[in-house]
Structure formats: structure tokens, C-alpha cells
Amino acid sequence: MAQALADAGRENRINPVLLPVMANRMDAVCREMTNTMLLAARSSVIGMARDFSCAVITSDNQVLAVAEGFPIHVWGTNIQTKSMQDLHPDYAEGDAFLHNDPYLGNTHPADHTILVPVFHEGEHFFTVAVKAHQADVGNSLPTTYMAQAADVYQEGALIFPCVQVQRDFRDIDDIIRMCERRIRVPEQWYGDYLAAVGAARIGERSLKAFIAKYGAHTVRHFTEEWFDYSERRCIEAIRALPKGKLKGAQAHDPVEPWVPDGIPINVTIDIDPDAAKVTVDLRDNIDCIDAGLNLTETTSTMAAVQGVLTCLGEDLPPNSGTMRRIEVLLRENCAVGIPRFPHSCSVATTNLTDVIVNVTQSAFAELGDGQGFAHGNYCNSAAAGVASGTDWRRDGERYINQMFMMGGGGGASAENDGMHYLFVPVAAGLLYRDSIEINEQRFPVLIDKMHVVTDSMGHGRRRGGPATEVIMGPRNDPMRILHVCNGLESAPKGVRGGTGSQLGGNAKIERDGSEHPYPAVMVCDLEGGERLRARDQGGGGYGSPLERETHRVLNDVAERYITVETARETYGVAVTGNVEDDSLAVDESATAQLRSSMNGGGAPA
């Protein structure tokens, strides 16, 4: 390796072996932090559903490594670390900062971010960020998604604009006490806070060992090289795309009474393979609204970037190097741009972000077969609502927690059917689901059903994932479930001839069996014996259903994903026999005729 090493020395470059070795180690640091957070957390939103992410940011505020965090979480941690430097120029080893300020780079106030600067021989090298969605943040209502908040004051969350919470590795108790006075079930919050600090300190320890092992000089060069490498990968991926200017639009459902006309969202995507650049323009959109649905700079940007990166494929490293090739144009005081204080951004990680991801991914499908995705579920059903109340089994002890029982069908891709637990587009199928037994042990709830819904998805050569329905209710004491929902009036669309899915919805089932649907912003109060029906949506289909292989259609019938009628009417596949005696089969000639006539009488597809 002598010559290569010498070359590397002259150009001040890291040799081609050390680069992946160091990148691997960096990834391992993030995983170690992730593992600590997951296993030490208290609330199910963090420990069970994994609604948290860990990242390593360089001292010049570039996102370096994120392991398997949520894209929506980790981008923007660079803006947060910059605020740490701006607001606390004397930051030092042993410090930790609590940051949940949506106007300073955080995602939304429910995500508490712990920032810990990492030093080597007195010099700042990295900052680790551990961002976790809290079970409660002191909002005026017991939910972490306050769609009904006209502004940050009505929202009520405690906002920490990068506030110091540890000095010399010890808590600053004032801050802890403030949180304990205003956050519901404070011991749960403190347990999660401890887990986050533990994860950050473990990351700090490993990074210090990393710098000591490779030396300050090499580590600095490594980060630059790794960003350059990531950029090269992104360049190659963009060069493989056709040139094009794509436009997509979709509205978020009306949210009565705050946004009676819904929220139209326009996305313009400019793909320039020659310049190896993708630009997403979100500026042609409405001003900030007087409700909690406004996005933040971070979530507007990352929703668009996530949409683009999933379409580029190629397991691109999600870091600032890759991001050099994706530009997102935002404007100030825009509902999907940079929020203007004091507009509320309580729901900034979901809802509008899901629309942006869907619109972006489906716009890519216009580039040709093989590109892009159909829409995924964006109906945040009440099976993912925030439940609170008291537990008569434990002397009336209070509880509050977000549940994770919804499924959410994924949009189909050109190659595969959509997944059955996408959750919503920004969650990308990464969330863990709650165990029925653990939920029933922890909360005084009885869950009656949780199952996928036949025929709920969009159809196509590849079909969407199915919707999930959950029926549940309190066993005794009243229970309150709050949530904000989209997709009650519109449903995920298919692409390239694929069809859309069925609507989702939430309804109260009275003791007499009658049902009353809830609006998008729901406050669901259930007494013992009353039930909640929560249903999300399937994903959209990709390509014409008439092109779906008959064996797949047959299997879908056998597995009750679709009915015999849908097989015939939508897929043009005649299925005979029944599941009962294992005699299901495709009638090939009837199918050929059906498909031919559905194709407009032309040759069978």
C-alpha cells in the first residue's frame, strides 16, 4: 500500500481502506446509543415504538452519522448544534443541553433533544444528539399533537431553546424541577430523560476513544472525506435518473374549525442529472396557519429529502455530504416552510410531512416504470392516539402514553407490494408496535380486535399494503384518547395505473352498538363499555392491476387480502373453488377473456 499511502499523504487524503473502517466505527457508535436509549426508556412511545433517533454532528455543524434513525428526526440536528454554539459560546466538557425549540432547528416540541459536545484534549470535535418523542411535554391538553393550538401559548408545551441541563456531568436541578412541575407523569419523563442522557454519554465515551485511537488530524480528514464520498454516491444516483421537472399537489383534509378548507400542498421537483442535483421547491404554499399543524424548517426540509432519498435508492449515507446534492427551497412564514413565531408547530413531524413525502415519491413515478412509489397510509388512526386516564387496578394511578397499534399500508413500489406496517410515510416502517398484552398490563384497556382489512388497499401490478382496524376501550375507569387525523376525506393514490385505497376513520361505538364518527381533531372520551373503532388506510397500487401475475392474485384471495369479487372486477382474474377445502384455482381461459375485455378488447396484458 506504500504508493497509495504516499499519494494519500500528498493530497492529504485518507487511504481507501481506512475510510470505510472509520465510517463503520462511527455507525457502531450510533447503534450503541440507539440500543441504550431503547432498552433503558420508560414510555412506550420511546422504548416500544422506537420514536427516537441518535446522531453524530461535527463541530462545524454537519450531520455525520445517524445509524438507523428516522430521517425526519436527524436532519436539522445540525441547526440545533449551531444554536448550542451561538447561545452558549462557553460550552464545555460535561455539559448537556435540552433542546426542543421548533424555531431553532428542532422537529417539534414533543421531541426533546439532548445535545452533548464531545471534546478531545480540550478541542470540540463532535456533538451527539439524542432526540426522543416524549409521552407528554406539558401541553394544555394531554396530547403531544396539539392541532387545535392557535399559537405556542395555547399549545402550552414547555419550550427549551437549547437550555443547559447538565454541568460537569450532573443535572442542573432547576431544569429538572421545572419539567417535573409541568409534565404529566413526571417520573416517566425523568426515566426517559435519564435514558437519553445515558445514551448521549455512551456516545461521548465511544467518540472520545475513536478520536484517541485515530488521532485528531486523521479524524478531521475522515469527516471531510466521508462527506465527499457520500456526495459522490449521491451524484451517481442522480445521474442515473432521467431529467425532468415534476409537479405534485395534494391537500391535507379540512381540520374543523381551524382550517375549514383543508391545506393544499404543492411540490415542484427539478431533477437535473447533468448538474447532479435535485431541487425541491415548497415555496408555493400557504402562509403559516393558526393551528398546530405548521411544519418547522427541519421537518419541511427533511420530508422533501426523505421523499427524494427513498426514490434514489442505493442505500445512500444519510448525512450532510449526500444532502449537498439535494436542495429544498423554503420560505419564511409558510405552513410547509420556516415557521414564524408564535405559530404552533406541535404536529410538525406528521400530517403535512406525510403529504410531502407521498407527493414527492409519487411524482417520481412519472419518470418511468421502476421509479417512485404509490402513496402510503396517511390516516393517523386513533390506534396511534395519546391515551390518558387513571388505573383502578393501581389505586387510581395516572397514566399517559401514545399507543402504537395501527398498521398503515405502505405504497407499492415497482418491484414489491407495499408493507403492512408502514405506520405513516415519515415513519417508513421503522416503528415497533405495541404488544397487546403489554398494553393491557400497563393500562386498564381491553383490546377487542387488531387485524388487517380485506380489500382496503389500492390495487395494481403491485398492490398497496392493507389497512389495519383496531377496536378497543377502557375496562372500567373513563379513558381519554386525543389525536389529529388526516385521510378521512381522501385516501392514498396509486401510480402508473394503480388504484387508490379506501378511506380511514375513527368512530365511537356506543353501548347499544351505534357508531359516531370522529372529526380529524378528535377528543375521544370513553366510559367503561364504550368502544373505539380506529381504522387507517391501505397503500396505493403501482401499475395496472391487469398486469398482476395470476398466482399473486390467487394468493391474495387465499390469504383474504382481497375477495374473489375484487380479483374478478379489479384484477380481471377468475378464481374458482374455495379456501375451505383447499381448492382455490385460477380459471385461466376465463381470466384471459376478462383481462382482454377490461383492456378494451385488445390483446391480453
Partner: protein, 695 residues
């Protein structure tokens, strides 16, 4: 005692390790015969007999104990060749196996394919019944409905039935009643009840293990019966024991009742060999065990003599595949081995794996049509493998083909062939390092404080740089390294676990309830022990564990209990203290003064079997023999060096080889890098000093 034989039938090779009365171990190998396992076994045994100079018939006739490890169940699951199995579950919850517990790798990959649920939806049946979290009956079992469902199963040609109802762990009445109905309506059809197999809270892992177990019963019952009868017919009268995923062995009839324990049992034997060798060579009881094969690299961990266990073992993909759900030996596998393919990505970076050339076509140097550069090709180019003495001369390698293949990555990187080959080996090692770091760090273990015991045909190629990167000073490479799993069978005990679910809060500790639970577990262990005493086993050990968490913490942590019963608040306090300590070690935080919730209780009983004792040979003062040959080999930054090659058989205990040097054993090659050394121990194993600073 007579001979003791341990067998490991892998996908490609069947390994046999024979221990004679003096404790000497001999390794034999043959190709696995899928149609009839016994043929591959007898081939491997004959091979060992040839080496040891004992006729095959005599080996069999004088065998007192045979330990059989099989990948049959694992492969049947991977290839979807298990029995047609029905799942009976609580009405309203037909999709437990479809949803799993959610999550996936690769955040940006939305186009991945998800394996179907382990039991298809069409063979999943919802039973009207419901029990609540405290064991109360919310809805009585509708026996007529259950009966109608079970009566429909024979028409669907169902061969096995899994029954997993919500909360059967606190009230098993409904599951038991359904079991009785199955026995009545479908006599002879095997079934598994979830509360009996795996009584843990969380319906997904419990249902998953129940489904897997039931689906294996018809197959494993006939497979084990066939193997045993073949053995008897060939004149073997010794006792037959089966390796399990819990790192022990069980009698055939116990395994037939719970065949899921044979899944992934091969790698679970590795740690036993690790403990045995590290102990015999006085290397302590903190051991990292690695096994490098052609396509996978397995890591397991022993800390203070205790094997590390996990409940999170998956087949066909973490999170999206099938979960074993049982507590089994924690073995992390990564797709890295001799066959891993090197390539250059779109950003110009060299990558190794996860694609593998496998056994066919295999690395380019095998000359079987493979053209892509692999780790083995890199080792050939570097001069580490003698092309004329691969696998003890059983196969000759094509050096030119290896060089041509490596040139595919060397060219674009503007590296020489040596430099590129060295880079390939380094990057392959990188994935192994990551796997070792994950398993150790997760448990709060500093790898630098452990010894590595390395096995597998390809382990010796790069274990020294791997150990250096981890800060490990010493590596032990057993002479039987090529058959580590089979070797582990030689050092196994009969191990069985009994568990039960019982909630207890440390501030309001339910002494009565917990005592009843623990005595229930103890009674089952008594019964088990009684049965074995009938087979003249006399030494037993018992350990108790509890899965506990801080109040409302999401995941439980299994901790060994410092007591086996609770008599006073002081006992509870001791348990809470133990919990704080373990939590701090693993997660760097603990909640001072915090209470804990105990969820699942477990007893593990070990029946100790006699083991081969390692015969120690006298240490020689003699000088190293003249090497078989000297060849140029390339060592990264040290460059190309004149390197002596020795045959393992030529070396005597006490001899020390200073790097650079290469030792060839019939089933493995040991590369001693510059700056490190290898000592032949009294047990004729290799103790490598890596030159790392250590912990």
C-alpha cells in the same frame, strides 16, 4: 469410559469430533447427505477413524455417548419445508405473526420484500374466547365453535397445530381445553400450547415460538427416530443426546416434545468449546467465541463463565423474518466469510459482502467458474494459503484465477494486487469487528478484557488484526478449530429451563405469589432431576433468573438472582441492588432508589456430564523445525516479507513462532502477523499474542 462422539451436520459438511479415553480429540469431516443423515455421519466418522487409527466399526461399538447437532430444523424453516401447521388464536387477533413487532432495517428502503407470516392467514383460526391481564375470563371459551374449527382441520390436511391465546400465561384453562379437543378430534396429530412451551408475556414472540415448534414436530420426530435407529443398526449402543439452542444437550424424547430447541443449535455449541479451551489453557472465563465459515461469521460471548443468552433470535431477517421467541444462546451472525465478494461502489469505495460466492461456484481460486474476487482469493494473492495444501491438500487452488479476480478491484483503486488483497481482508475483518463490538458493548463488556477463541476454517487468516483492533492481547486457536460446533458438543451438559410469568413490584412485593411461582419451577426441576438420576447422572446445578424492569420501563432485563427464594424485605433489596448494578453496566445510568417490576421467572437446571480431559504434553525446549518452505507473503504496512510455512504436525508443545509465519493445519490456516507470535500449548493448541496493548 469408551469413546464419546460429537456430530455437527451443517449445510455442506458433517463434522465429527471423537474423544478417546485419554481425552484426545480427533476431527473427521465428510459431505452432508441430506437424504439420510447417517451416511454423511458415518463418512465423517470413518475419516476420523482413519486419522486416529481406529476402525469405524470399533469406534461405533465402543461409543458410550453420542451428541448429535443438526441443522435439519433450521434448514426446514429457511426452505419452508416444515409441516402444514394450523394456528389457533384468540378471536380478533389473526395477524400476530404478520405484524411481528414491527420495525425494519434500512430506513430509506421502501421496496423491500417481507417474508409472509410463519403460518399463512388461511391456516390461522380465531377461537371465540378472551382472558384479561389478571387472568379473569372476559369471554368464556365457545367450545362448540372451537370444536367445529378443529373438526375442519383434517380436511385441510393439517399435520400439526399451534395454540397461542392471549393471556394463557396467567390463565391456561382455555389453551388446555383446546389441547384436549385436539387430542380427542385429531388423535396422534402433534400440537404445542404456548403457555407450556414458552410462558412469557408478549403475544408475538410466544406465538412465534409456538408456531415454529408445532411445525417441526412431525419432521423432527421422524428424523431423530431414523437417525437413532440407523445408529442402533450400525452397532452403536451408547446414549444419544441432542444439541440445543440453549447451549446444552437433551435426551431424544425431550427434544421430540420441544423440537424448536434444535433450531440454530449448531452455533450455540461454540461457546462451550470456548469455555473449555480457555479454561484448559488457563485463559480465564471471559471469552469471545468466533466461528468463521465460508459465508457467515458467528460471534458469541461468555462472561465470568456464563454464556450470554437472548430472546431475540431471528430466522430469515431480523424483525421481518421469524422470531424464535425462546431464550437461546446469543449468537450474532454477519454475512462475512471466505466466500464474501469484494466490489467497488458508485462512490469509488471498496466494499466486501454481503454477497457471497458460497461453496458453488465458490471463490475464483477454486476453479469452479467463480470470477468475482473473494476473501479467500485475497488470502491466496497475499501468499497466506499454500495453493497445493488447501484443506490439507484435499483441494488445489488456482493462483492465477485469484490474481485475475483481485485485479478487478485493484485496477480501479490504483492499488497493487497485494495492496488490494490486503484491503479486502481488512474490510472483511471490519464487519467481524463490528459484530464483536455489538455483542460485547451491548452487555457492557470491554472486549480487551477477554480472550478470543477462534474457530472455523477461515478464522486464522485475519483473527490477529481483528483482535488488535479490539484491543485483545490473546487469541486461542484450538487445533480442532475447523469443527468448533461439534467440538462444543464434547463439552456440553444437559441443560433445561423452566419459566413462569408472575408480576411483582419491589415496593409491594408479593412474597406469597412469587414463592408459589418459584416453588412451581423448583418442583419441575425436581421432577426433571429425578428422571435423570434414573439414568445415573449425579451432579446437578441450579440457577434462577428474573426478567425485571424499572417501573414502566419498556423492556425487561434478565438478571441472575442472587438467591433462590424470598423470605424478607432484605432479599428484595438485594435483588433491586443487583438490578441497579447490571443496568448501570449496560446502559450507563441507574435510577437511584428506583423500584423495579419483576415479570418472568426462570430456573435453569444443569446436569453435568463427564467431559474429555485435555491431556497435557510435556513442553519441549527443542528449536523450531526447519520450515517446509519459505514464501513471500504480504502484510499490509509491513510490506512483502519472506515467510516460513510450518505444518502443524511438525510442531511440539512449547515452540514459539514469531511473526511473520504461517502454520498449516488440515482444516485451518493460521497467519502469524509481524509483531505477533504463536505458542504451541501443552494441549497442542495455538495461543496467539497479538501485540495489542490490551485493556
Amino acid at each position: 469410559m469408551g469413546y464419546r462422539i460429537a456430530v455437527d451436520t451443517g449445510g455442506t459438511f458433517t463434522d465429527v469430533v471423537v474423544a478417546d479415553e485419554a481425552g484426545r480429540l480427533t476431527v473427521g469431516k465428510a459431505l452432508t447427505t441430506v437424504e439420510r443423515t447417517f451416511e454423511g455421519f458415518s463418512g465423517a466418522l470413518a475419516n476420523a477413524g482413519d486419522i486416529a487409527g481406529v476402525p469405524y466399526e470399533r469406534l461405533l461399538a465402543e461409543t458410550e455417548m453420542l451428541i448429535y447437532g443438526t441443522t435439519r430444523s433450521t434448514n426446514s424453516i429457511i426452505e419452508s419445508k416444515v409441516a402444514k401447521t394450523a394456528l389457533l388464536t384468540t378471536e380478533g387477533f389473526p395477524d400476530t405473526l404478520l405484524y411481528r413487532h414491527g420495525g425494519k432495517r434500512e430506513p430509506l428502503n421502501l421496496a423491500m420484500e417481507f417474508p409472509p407470516p410463519y403460518i399463512p392467514r388461511r391456516l390461522t383460526f380465531e377461537i371465540p374466547e378472551r382472558i384479561n391481564a389478571e387472568g379473569g375470563v372476559e369471554q368464556e371459551l365457545d367450545e362448540a365453535a372451537a370444536r367445529a374449527i378443529i373438526e375442519s382441520l383434517p380436511r385441510k390436511r393439517i399435520d400439526a397445530v399451534a395454540v397461542a391465546l392471549l393471556w394463557s400465561i396467567v390463565n391456561p384453562d382455555h389453551e388446555l381445553r383446546i389441547g384436549a379437543l385436539i387430542a380427542e378430534i385429531m388423535p396422534g396429530v402433534p400440537y404445542t400450547l404456548s403457555h407450556q412451551l414458552n410462558p412469557i408475556i408478549r403475544e408475538f414472540p410466544r406465538t412465534s415460538s409456538t408456531a415454529i415448534d408445532a411445525s417441526l414436530k412431525p419432521l423432527m420426530q421422524s428424523h431423530l427416530a431414523e437417525f437413532e435407529s440407523d445408529l442402533r443398526a450400525a452397532g452403536c449402543e451408547g446414549e444419544v443426546l441432542i444439541s440445543t439452542s440453549s447451549g446444552g444437550v437433551m435426551h431424544v424424547d425431550d427434544v421430540v416434545a420441544k423440537p424448536i430447541y434444535t433450531v440454530k443449535s449448531g452455533p450455540a455449541m461454540g461457546p462451550l468449546a470456548g469455555i473449555a479451551y480457555a479454561g484448559a489453557e488457563d485463559q480465564g472465563d471471559d471469552v469471545i467465541i468466533v466461528d468463521t465459515g465460508g459465508t457467515t461469521f458467528d460471534v458469541s460471548l461468555v462472561r465470568s463463565g456464563q454464556v450470554k443468552y437472548t430472546r431475540d433470535t431471528w430466522l430469515l431477517g431480523e424483525w421481518i423474518g421469524h422470531n424464535l421467541g425462546l431464550s437461546s444462546v446469543d449468537v450474532r451472525s454477519v454475512g462475512a466469510g471466505g466466500g464474501s465478494i469484494a466490489w467497488i461502489d458508485a462512490g469509488g469505495l471498496l466494499r466486501v459482502g454481503p454477497q457471497s460466492a458460497g461453496a458453488r461456484p465458490g471463490p475464483a481460486c477454486y476453479g469452479q467458474g467463480g470470477e468475482e474476487p473473494t476473501v479467500t482469493d485475497a488470502a491466496v494473492v497475499l501468499g497466506y494459503i499454500d495453493p497445493d495444501y488447501f484443506l490439507g491438500g484435499r483441494m488445489s487452488l488456482d493462483v492465477t484465477a485469484a490474481a485475475t479476480a483481485i485485479e478487478q478491484v485493484a485496477g480501479p483503486l490504483k492499488l497493487s494486487a497485494d495492496e488490494a488483497a490486503s484491503a479486502v481482508l481488512t474490510l472483511a475483518g471490519e464487519q467481524m469487528i463490528k459484530a464483536i463490538q455489538e455483542i460485547t458493548v451491548q452487555d457492557g463488556v470491554n472486549p480487551g478484557e477477554s480472550i478470543i477463541v477462534a474457530g472455523g476454517g477461515a478464522a486464522g487468516l485475519n483473527i490477529i488484526p481483528i483482535a488488535q483492533a479490539l484491543g485483545c492481547r490473546r487469541v486461542l486457536l484450538p487445533r480442532t478449530a475447523g469443527a468448533l460446533s461439534a467440538c462444543g458438543g464434547q463439552f456440553s451438559n444437559i441443560v433445561t429451563e423452566f419459566s413462569a410469568s408472575r408480576y411483582a413490584h419491589s415496593n409491594t412485593f408479593d412474597f406469597e405469589g412469587v414463592s408459589a411461582t418459584l416453588s412451581g419451577i423448583a418442583a419441575r426441576m425436581d421432577e426433571f432431576e429425578e428422571k435423570l438420576r434414573g439414568r445415573s447422572i449425579e451432579r446437578f446445578g441450579r440457577e434462577y433468573f428474573v426478567e425485571a424492569r424499572y417501573i414502566n420501563q419498556q423492556w425487561e432485563m434478565e438478571i441472575p438472582m442472587p438467591m433462590d427464594r424470598f423470605e424478607s424485605e432484605a432479599d428484595v433489596e438485594r435483588l433491586v441492588e443487583t438490578f441497579h448494578d447490571v443496568h448501570f453496566r449496560r446502559y450507563a445510568v441507574k435510577e437511584e432508589g428506583g423500584a423495579i417490576e419483576c415479570i418472568n421467572w426462570k430456573g435453569r437446571i444443569t446436569a453435568f456430564l463427564d467431559k474429555p480431559s485435555f491431556p497435557a504434553e510435556p513442553m519441549t525446549e527443542a528449536a523450531l523445525p526447519k520450515p517446509r518452505r519459505n514464501t513471500r507473503a504480504y502484510f499490509g504496512e509491513a510490506g512483502a516479507l519472506d515467510t516460513p510455512f510450518h505444518l502443524g504436525d511438525d510442531l511440539l508443545p512449547g515452540m514459539v513462532l514469531k511473526g511473520p509465519a504461517i502454520v498449516e493445519e488440515p482444516t485451518t490456516t493460521i497467519v502469524v502477523y509481524p509483531g505477533s507470535s504463536a505458542t504451541v500449548t501443552a494441549g497442542r493448541n495455538y495461543l496467539l499474542e497479538t501485540g495489542a496493548a490490551g485493556a
